[in-house]
Amino acid sequence: MLISLFITILEFQTMIHSFQRLLKLWIFLALMLINVPNCLAQEWNSARLSILYGSNIPFNFSSLAKIKNGIEITTGTHIGVSMADSAKVGHTLEGFILNFRSFNGQANIKGDVYTLPLNRIQVKAENILGLGSGFTYGYKDLTTGWVPLFTYSVASPSPWTNLDWSNHQLNLSFQCGIPVSRGGNGSLMGEGPDYYNVEIEFELMPTGPGF
């Protein structure tokens, strides 16, 4: 009788151990399967480039004088610059740089039949409001790579003041077909009559320690 009872107890303990092992396995599997996506995102700053005027620039070469001497559009595009610092440790916003290039790596100015070299178009950025301490690079050739047009910087210890589009604006001037003698890359004399176009991409990039 005692022996029989002892055997029964042993079997019951074995069952409990088996159940415990099974439970551990289930818990482990459950932990493996449960995916809890926890993300923390922090942005060091905000930046916004707003086109306020001149979102489309047409050059109309309607006379021989224009073809020979080129066209300069001094009041081309007005852009507003908005930029704010989010005060994250390790990053100090001090200014920005404005770059430009042909969109999507377009290698030339495409017409329906003919093409023109990209450098027949030159672009300049100048302050018109609130960015007077910035630096303009003057007219720069359009290329497939980023080229700086304008930089603005508030050096330490001067405190950074956030920029908003209504009080911080730049003017972009465009010129096309300017002769070499006047600082361009050649007139359009001799080029085929066509309707050429290219998209120009502008990039507003924050600068400062940590950026």
């Binding site: 449960i34 926890n38 930046a47 086109i51 023109l116």
Partner: protein, 223 residues
């Protein structure tokens, strides 16, 4: 550790924008004759018949050297936004008499030399097309403006682009030309198209006295 899978992002924020730029190139192509749109040679002396009449009297050793020079010149300009070619020639194969319609005078009794007075210059006299980098004009009939050529029937390419980096495109200041006409001077012996080498006084049969007329057409085309 397994439950808490934490991912953290941090970044600088940039912004981009796009401006489409369009270039509309309109074709400009124009020829303007500014002087000498009507040339008339009047032979009224034996000297005229013997030596001919020329706007380039000294070179031609023609009759009436003092009065001839400025009388038989045609000045014209070409304004073109693209490379161009000028084709010319007479409407008829010979001069036709006004009073005697059946009378004809060979058109090669009339010849001319062309001169560029604008900024664009011709290729070297004995050179082929595209040899001289700074030269933008090329002319086969006149051996690049170096020789007298006889008048020919339409169409003959008189001036074309020299196919160098400097296009012959340009305005009237770039493409300004003078044609020095002559008649009966028997010039251009070494030219590709020489004038009639027999002077009017020696021709057989002698030309019937009349007023001979032919139109010379010029056609400017974009290349």
């Amino acid at each position: 550790m397994l439950v808490c899978g934490l991912t953290a992002f941090s970044q600088a924020v940039k912004d981009r924008n796009f401006i489409p730029v369009a270039i509309n190139l309109n074709q400009v192509l124009r020829m303007t004759i500014t002087n000498g749109g009507n040339i008339e040679f009047v032979f009224n002396t034996i000297e005229d018949y013997k030596n001919g009449i020329s706007s380039d009297a000294v070179a031609s050793v023609s009759a009436n050297p003092i009065t001839s020079n400025s009388m038989y010149k045609t000045d014209f300009s070409v304004s073109s936004s693209t490379r161009w070619a000028l084709t010319y020639g007479t409407e008829e194969i010979s001069f036709l008499g006004t009073d005697h319609p059946n009378a004809a005078l060979a058109i090669n009794n009339v010849g001319f030399k062309i001169l560029s007075t604008g900024n664009n210059i011709f290729e070297g006299a004995a050179l082929g097309i595209g040899i001289t980098a700074g030269a933008s004009l090329f002319s086969i009939p006149t051996a690049n403006a170096s020789k007298v050529t006889a008048l020919q029937t339409y169409p003959v390419v008189l001036i074309t682009d020299n196919q160098t980096i400097n296009a012959n495109a340009g305005d009237a200041a770039d493409n300004l030309f003078t044609i020095d006409w002559r008649c009966g001077t028997a010039e251009g012996k070494t030219s590709i198209t020489p004038m009639n080498q027999v002077k009017l006084i020696d021709q057989k049969p002698s030309p019937v006295a009349d007023r001979y007329v032919v139109n010379v057409m010029f056609e400017l085309a974009s290349l």
